[in-house]
């Protein structure tokens, strides 16, 4: 019989109180580790464990749902073999910024909540003040930004030199 969905418990039985049958705290990657991804995971774990007041003021740890939404964005946006894995910067409200910086160009995504993201970039075309857009579910625009951003890979730059 095919495995039912995780949230589909049919076929099981209950006693009055059943014991937890397997540890729930951490789940390993289901796919082979990819260089860069382990670092992203470690960073997100680190930010989720920040102590209250970590910034010297009233900073709180990264909010659980924001961490997962940030991970979802990175998963969708990044070719995980890219040399430009992002930096992840905590905000004092439990929010995070996902940032790419290279050769004077930057892309920054401020994840304020799931489906509430402000994206900003600067480059030669848009100038120093940069360009800002608000995003909810569709991150295609950022995919394009990243493609333009990574167009100048070290290999390409070396070839052009």
């Amino acid at each position: 019989m095919a495995s039912p969905s995780a949230f589909s418990p049919n076929g099981t039985t209950a006693t009055n109180v059943a014991k937890l049958t397997q540890p729930a705290r951490r789940v390993n990657l289901s796919d082979p580790p990819i260089i860069g991804w382990e670092a992203i995971k470690s960073r997100l774990e680190e930010l989720s464990k920040l102590e209250a007041g970590w910034d010297g003021y009233r900073g709180v740890p990264m909010r659980f749902e924001i961490g997962y939404f940030a991970a979802e964005i990175i998963k969708n946006l990044c070719d995980l073999s890219t040399p430009y894995m992002p930096q992840i910067i905590p905000g004092s409200n439990g929010d995070v910024q996902i940032e790419w910086h290279h050769s004077g160009k930057s892309i920054e995504l401020h994840v304020k909540a799931p489906y509430d993201v402000t994206a900003w970039r600067n480059n030669d075309a848009v100038g120093e003040d940069g360009e800002e857009i608000n995003l909810t579910t569709d991150f295609t625009a950022i995919s394009k930004w990243l493609n333009e951003f990574t167009g100048a890979t070290p290999a390409n730059e070396a070839a052009a030199a």
Binding site: M1, A2, P4, S5, A6, F7, S8, P9, N10, G11, T12, T13, A14, T15, N16, V17, A18, K19, L20, Q22, A24, R25, R26, V27, N28, L29, S30, I34, W37, I40, K41, L44, E45, S48, R63, F64, E65, G67, Y68, F69, A71, E72, I73, K75, N76, L77, C78, L80, A113, P114, Y115, T136, T137, D138, F139, T140, A141, I142, S143, K144
Partner: protein
């Protein structure tokens, strides 16, 4: 902008029916649908201050109707997002810090699933699978009341803000037993199949985007068909689900998403199954 699939996306707002408690008049209706399980669920921002040690108090809210309990591993948060296609990888960077609890009715036909950031209500066939489907309106009516009870609990005990829903889902799982469709070939059951010789093994899936009235993607309809086997014999397992972000974080909009998702699922079920099978399931 989306890929080609977006051109075939489903615009939710064309569904004018928004009251989840009454059945839309034009919705396909089967007297004996092959439904085995229905799941309605939401994912929400954890209530500040709430911890697993209070889960027993949550059970108390529902214990009268759901006196049995089971502990399960938590489900990871999930979000429907859209971008250029990339290889998908599975991950979990940290656990929820909270198990998932099933609160079950004595007869186990229905259960609530609760964890730090999710709340789901399941109806399912159990035992000899003869328990009757109570219909969507019954289930969403219960689900709606339960969500409001949970919201009030968080507000009263943790001074939490209103429940902030960030993801909704509806899933219909159908078991189409070969013994129930004897005399029909595969093409008579599934309208999208057209075999001269039936295959020995079947497995397929597809998705459609769900768009809001601005044409922006808000979620996906997923359909999966495969073969399985139970004590009753071999069957086709047809799972159709809708999952995505509600228009706002409110319970009202979450229920609206769930309701409209159900409409999409039922219409898709009729679309991908064939008239001879419809007759078998007593379409009205």
């Amino acid at each position: 902008m989306l890929g080609k699939g977006s051109e075939k996306g489903i615009i939710f707002s064309t569904v004018t029916h928004k009251n989840p408690m009454t059945r839309p008049a034009n919705l396909p209706d089967f007297e004996k649908p092959p439904l085995n399980e229905v799941v309605l669920g939401v994912q929400f921002a954890p209530a500040p201050g709430y911890q697993q040690i209070y889960a027993g108090q949550v059970w108390e809210l529902f214990k009268k109707d759901f006196p049995l309990v089971q502990e399960q591993p938590a489900l990871p948060p999930s979000f429907e997002t859209f971008g250029l296609p990339r290889p998908q990888i599975g991950f979990d960077f940290i656990g929820a810090g909270h198990d998932r609890f099933w609160f079950l009715r004595e007869n186990q036909h229905e259960l609530i699933q609760f964890q730090l950031d999710k709340f789901l209500h399941n109806w399912r066939k159990v035992g000899d699978e003869k328990n009757e489907y109570p219909r969507f309106e019954h289930i969403i009516s219960k689900f709606s009341a339960e969500l409001k009870t949970l919201e009030t609990f968080f507000q009263k005990n943790f001074s939490a803000p209103p429940l902030s829903v960030n993801q909704c889902e509806v899933t219909y799982i159908n078991f189409i037993y070969e013994s129930d469709t004897a005399g029909l070939d595969l093409n008579d059951v599934f309208s999208f199949l057209n075999f001269e010789t039936s295959p020995d093994e079947v497995a397929c899936n597809f998705t459609r985007h769900i768009l809001n009235d601005k044409g922006e993607p808000r979620g996906r309809v997923r359909c999966t068909l495969n073969q399985a086997h139970s004590a009753k014999g071999p069957f086709y397992r047809l799972e159709i689900s809708t999952k995505g972000a509600p228009d706002s974080h409110s319970i009202t909009d979450a229920l609206s998403f769930v309701n409209q998702g159900r409409v999409k699922i039922v219409n898709l079920f009729k679309e991908i199954t064939a008239p001879p099978a419809h007759k078998l399931w007593s379409i009205k």
